[in-house]
Every structure is written in C-alpha cells, then in structure tokens.
C-alpha cells in the first residue's frame, strides 16, 4: 500500500483561551489515501477548522504526529513547511479570502509570487486555463467586488489549483453560498476529484456536500466518531 496523503497519530490540539483551555481536537487518528474525497462533518465548534489548519500545516501548536505524504510536518522547518504548502496543498476557505485590490487573474496567480521556480508565462497560461475551467474566462480583468459569491469561490478554487497541488483542503466551501450556487461548487469538486484524481478533504456542517464524498468522517467535540465512519 502506498503512503497515505494524510496520517495523524494521537493528534490533539488545545487552544489556550485565557482561563479555560479548550480541547479542539482530542486524540484524532485518521489516514486519508491519495485520491480520496473525504468529507468531515460535524456541528459548529466541533474542531473541523482546527483539524484542517493542522493538517494543512498552518497550525503547528498541536500534540501528536501529523504526516503529509509520508513526511512528519512537526519535524520540518517553518520555511520548508511553507514550501510544502505552496507545492502540494491548495486551500479553499468559507470567506474566499480574495485580495480586493487585485483583479481576478492577479488573484489566481498570487501563489506564483512565492514559487521560487515559477515561470511567469506558464503561470499566466495556467491561470487562464483554470479560469476557463471554472467558467470565468471572461472575468479575468474584473475585481472580486464585481463578482457574485459563487463566482468568488470559483476564483478561489482556481487560485488553489494554480500550482497543481495534490491535496485540496476546503473549509466550509459552500458555507457562504445559497443552495444552488453551493451545489454547483460541489459539482466542480466532484469533477476535479474524478478527472484530476485530486485528494480532497472538505469540512462542513452541511450534509449535502457529503453526498459527493467517497468517505465521511464525523467529528464531535474534537473526537472522530469512528463508529460512524462510513463510505459514502
């Protein structure tokens, strides 16, 4: 069996919020193989965002072990982890996090700024291709303010895919969208998973996103509910 894309062992995360320390993750043991589309379901406050930040290498204040593509991210330097994020991981957020002073195409090419080996022309071509892929080829010169919520999330997805990541981490990607728009974003994920064999981990509290996944993990009070792990 190949190395899993993500593996955690005894993963815990305690947020020290002043007097009461909050245990956002408790002894989480998961393994996600390459090519899986995993949906992490759980109520608000159950630790979904925390889990995503930890396995995405954005939050290093955890206990336990986290391996990404076989590499223990607790042992690499901050700079090496940043490179790993840039090369292997794409992030999609509930609030899109587009930069409003930039155009759509500039937003999509943002990750290239921190790519030491990037080629400007290739990057621009890829960005255009991705915008075409998400159906926004004609909006390249617009600013995010001129786009609808669904369109903004598509731009964010194009940005996440710019450097051809192997892993897409999505935190409530449809949380800010109406049902129809959300549904189309979910379709886009399904396509990406099917056509590009992208490993996707999406956390949400909405059951409808789960229907697209190949596996569902349920998180409750920071614990993975193993009994309820189910294939979709």
């Amino acid at each position: 069996m190949s190395v899993p894309a993500i593996r955690t062992r005894g993963l815990s995360r305690v947020h020290d919020g002043g007097r009461d320390a909050r245990r956002a993750l408790v002894d989480v043991e998961i393994a996600i193989e390459e090519g899986e589309f995993v949906c992490v379901l759980g109520p608000s406050g159950s630790g979904k965002s925390t889990l995503l930040a930890v396995i995405g290498g954005l939050d290093r204040g955890y206990q336990g072990q986290v391996e990404l593509f076989g590499e223990d991210i607790g042992r690499v330097s901050d700079a090496a982890l940043a490179r790993l994020r840039g090369e292997r991981i794409g992030f999609v957020f509930q609030h899109f996090h587009l930069l409003h002073h930039l155009t759509v195409i500039e937003n999509v090419t943002t990750p290239a700024l921190f790519d030491p080996r990037g080629d400007e022309e290739a990057c621009l071509a890829r960005a255009k291709h991705l915008l075409d892929r998400v159906g926004l080829a004609d909006r390249a010169g617009d600013t995010p303010a001129e786009l609808s919520g669904g369109q903004r999330q598509r731009v964010a997805i194009a940005r996440a895919l710019l450097r051809k990541p192997k892993l897409l981490l999505c935190d409530e990607p449809t949380g800010n969208l109406d049902a129809d728009t959300g549904a189309r974003i979910i379709e886009l994920f399904e396509e990406l998973h099917r056509e590009e064999r992208l490993t996707i981990v999406a956390v949400t509290h909405e059951e409808r996103l789960a229907r697209a996944a190949t596996r569902i993990l349920r998180l409750h009070d920071g614990r993975v509910d193993a009994s309820k792990e189910e294939p979709a």
Partner: protein
C-alpha cells in the same frame, strides 16, 4: 521569493497604500532634508572659513603622539616606538584631490647639541639641546639663495680620515665604522623668523648680544656652528657613537621649524639611520601639504584625519574643530528628527500589518515563508525611505538655493561674504539617501517581525 515577485508586491503596496505611506514618509523626508541642509551648510561654511577668512593653503599634518607607555610599558621596556608617517601615506596624501604637493619632514631622532656663533656674536654660544628637522630643500627655495640649502654630499669632497685632512671650512663627514669619510662643506641650516625674534627680543638683551637681523645674517655669510651628533646634556643616542660636524646657517625661512635648526632632508635621513636606525630614517615625523587653494584645505584635513594625521597648525585645527562641532550639533537635531520619523514609520507599518493580517495569512497559506513576509515589509519600508530621501534631498537643495539667494539679496556686504554658504559633495547625496533608507527600515523592523509572526490559522479563521 524572486526579486520580480518582491518588486510586484511592493509596487502594488505603493499603489494602494499611497496616502498612509506618504504620511509616514513625510517625517523621514523632513529629517533627511534637515540633515543634508545642515551638513551642506557646515561644509560650505568651513570651506569659506578655511579658504578665505583664514587662507591657509599649506598645512602641516602630524601623526598621533607616541602613546604614553604606561607603567607596564616602562617596566617591560620597548613601547615608545615612534609612529611616524609612512612613505605610502605621503604618496596617498599627494593623490588627494586638491593637493598640490606634499613635503615630508624628518625630525632628528637622536640627541644633539651645538656650539658656535662667534662670527656675529663675538664669542661662541651653545645650545645644550638642539632640536632639528630635515625638509625637502625645495621647501625653502623661495627664501634662500639657490645652491645654498642643499645636501653637501650631493657634491662630496675628497676622501679623508679626519677633519685635519679637509681644507677651508670643510670637515670630514665620516660615520662611525666607515672605512673612510669624505670632506664636506658645512651642512647648511635654516632657522625660523620666530627663532630669530625670540633670540633678538629675549635672549640677546639678557646676555648683551647684538640682535641678529636678517640682513646681518646674510652679510655674515652665515654663522657656523659645530654640532655634536648623538650626544647632548640629557643623554646619548641608543646607537652609533657621537661625533662632531660643522653646520652653517644660510638663511631664514618660513619653512624652517620654529625652534631649532632645519637641515636638508637627505642629511637628516643619513644621520637618523646612523643614530636611530632604519625606521627613524624612513618614517617622516610630519608632512607639509600644500593645497591648490585654501578652499581645499578642509578636504586635506579630512583626508589626513582618515590616515590618523592631524593638523599641527592649531588655527586650522580650531576652525575645523569648531565648524565640525557646530555641524555635529546640527546633525544631532536632524538625527532626532529622523528617529522621531522612524517611529512614525513604525506606527504606519504596525497599522498596515494589522490591517493586512488575513492577506498575510493567505500568502502564508499559498507558500510564503515567515522570512518572505518580513522581507516584503522591510523592502516596502526601504522603498518608502528611498522616495522620502529623494524628496528630502530635493528640499534641502532648494532650501540651500533660497538661503544663498536671500543672503545675496538681503544681507549687507561683509568681508569674505561668499557666493554660497553650502557645499554639496557627491557623498552627501549618498549619505542623505543612506540615512533615509536606514531609518525607514529601522522603523519597520518591529512591524516586519510582527508580520512574519502572524498566525495564519487564526488570521484565516476570521472573515
């Protein structure tokens, strides 16, 4: 991060945060303008003072005095090695822009005493301690008849064993241990007007000697002395054995050392080698530097200072020190302005970083290292400092222009009133620019560290 990416990030910042950055740059620009204005004023005024008010176009530079050896030095012996000016430094001084020529001086490195003066004074007088210098004969060329002040060994006489073998006024110049000597005309020496004044006004009346006027000196065809080399009342030379030579005073010169006799350089070099060693023969004790104009003396003083040499002429040094002091004081004012404006940069950048936490977090998520975020912030500050510096320099130049104009129009004529009170050498522009960028960057270092430390997970959690 590639440079192109950094440039792109900074350019975008300049476009969108123009107003905030311009506000914080204002202080830096004002500080730079103040600094450059005052420095230019100081440099300009110093050039006027040294060049016109006290027109000194030649200046004597000295090495630092040999250090006090201290108790340990005395106990261990040694120490006290004369520093001297190396021939290399003399050459380097000669290459300083504005320098016409450099005339090094070599002091006697051994004790000597003298006795003589019968021709004018009626009977011999003695100096139990004879200080003396050797100078390039061309230094005295204007004051002494040609051919008089030259090294006698340039045209040595016949071989000799002792003084008896030489005729006329000549003596046998024979260093200790040399197989044979050569007959030598009395070594020519020049004295200063100052020494003649002292003698005529203080010494002669006390002893009932006639005054030694310039005319008397020349009419007497020179006063001859015997000089005891390597020995004086106070002691003996460390090496060589003392011997006696003849010397003749051939004139009065402004180039002569104030107290003592001044000989042609080659002679003193030979004697120093004999009684003081090689180093004493090679290292000059001071150097007279002639500038093309008085205005350039300030540059000569600066160049000398960089080699550790300081002016012997206290007037030039005083002017130089005074103006430098005032300049330092005014620069301090400018420094305070710069420090204050650096803190305004800090304020602006702190606000900027706070406002951009989620943007910074996004960059971190897509692959930026903490170092790259810090470098971005510092680069932005450096660019702000660059523009502020350019503005400051422009303002300083314009202010200087108007100050000169106002002085020309509004101030009454006074002696030495110059066309400009300012000097803007090329390095002043660089210096202004350097300080501007430096203080901007210093101000931004704290915020840059904060930017590098932004916790991406937390910053992205917010909307």
């Amino acid at each position: 991060m590639k440079l192109a990416a950094l440039v792109r990030l900074v350019r975008r910042d300049l476009a969108r945060a123009r107003r905030a950055l311009a506000g914080s740059a204002f202080g830096i620009a004002a500080g730079t303008a103040t600094l450059v204005f005052f420095l230019a004023l100081g440099l300009g005024v110093r050039a006027v003072l040294l060049g016109e008010v006290f027109p000194i176009d030649r200046i004597e530079l000295e090495p630092p005095k040999a250090k006090d050896p201290g108790l340990l030095g005395l106990l261990l012996g040694g120490g006290g090695e004369p520093t001297g000016i190396r021939p290399d430094d003399v050459d380097a001084l000669g290459r300083v822009p504005g320098v016409k020529r450099v005339l090094p001086k070599l002091s006697l490195a051994f004790p000597a005493s003298a006795r003589g003066g019968r021709e004018i004074l009626g009977h011999d007088v003695g100096a139990s301690e004879l200080p003396g210098d050797g100078i390039d004969p061309s230094l005295a060329a204007g004051d002494v008849k040609p051919g008089l002040f030259v090294d006698p060994m340039d045209t040595p006489g016949p071989a000799c064993a002792d003084d008896a073998a030489c005729t006329g006024g000549a003596y046998c110049e024979r260093a200790e241990g040399a197989a044979e000597g050569r007959c030598s005309a009395p070594v020519p020496a020049i004295v200063s007007r100052y020494l003649v004044e002292i003698f005529d006004k203080s010494i002669a009346p006390a002893h009932g000697f006639p005054a030694v006027g310039e005319t008397l000196l020349s009419r007497a065809q020179g006063i001859t002395f015997t000089v005891r080399l390597g020995e004086s009342l106070l002691g003996r030379a460390k090496q060589g054995s003392p011997r006696t030579i003849r010397a003749r005073i051939v004139g009065i010169s402004g180039s002569a050392t104030d107290l003592g006799l001044t000989f042609p350089l080659g002679v003193v070099r030979r004697w120093n080698r004999e009684f003081g060693g090689e180093r004493a023969a090679e290292r000059y004790s001071s150097a007279v530097v002639e500038a093309r104009s008085g205005a350039e003396v300030a540059d000569v003083i600066d160049a000398g200072a960089r080699m550790g040499l300081s002016p012997k002429d206290t007037r030039a040094r005083d002017v130089s020190v005074l103006v430098s002091g005032v300049m330092a004081l005014l620069s301090l004012v400018a420094g305070v302005v710069l420090v204050v404006s650096a803190s305004s940069i800090t304020q602006t950048f702190r606000a900027l970083v706070l406002e951009r936490r989620s943007e910074i977090a996004l960059y971190r998520a897509v692959g930026a290292t903490a170092g790259e975020i810090g470098a971005w912030t510092v680069s932005l500050a450096a660019v702000v400092g660059f523009f502020a510096g350019a503005l400051g320099l422009l303002v300083a130049r314009i202010l200087a222009f108007f100050a000169d104009w106002a002085a020309a129009e509004k101030l009454p004529d006074f002696p030495f009133k110059p066309d400009t009170f300012f000097a803007f050498p090329w390095w002043l522009w660089l210096l202004g620019m350097g300080f501007s960028v430096l203080f901007s960057v210093l101000g931004a270092i704290g915020p840059a560290r904060a930017a590098a430390k932004v916790d991406p997970a937390r910053a992205l959690a917010g909307s």
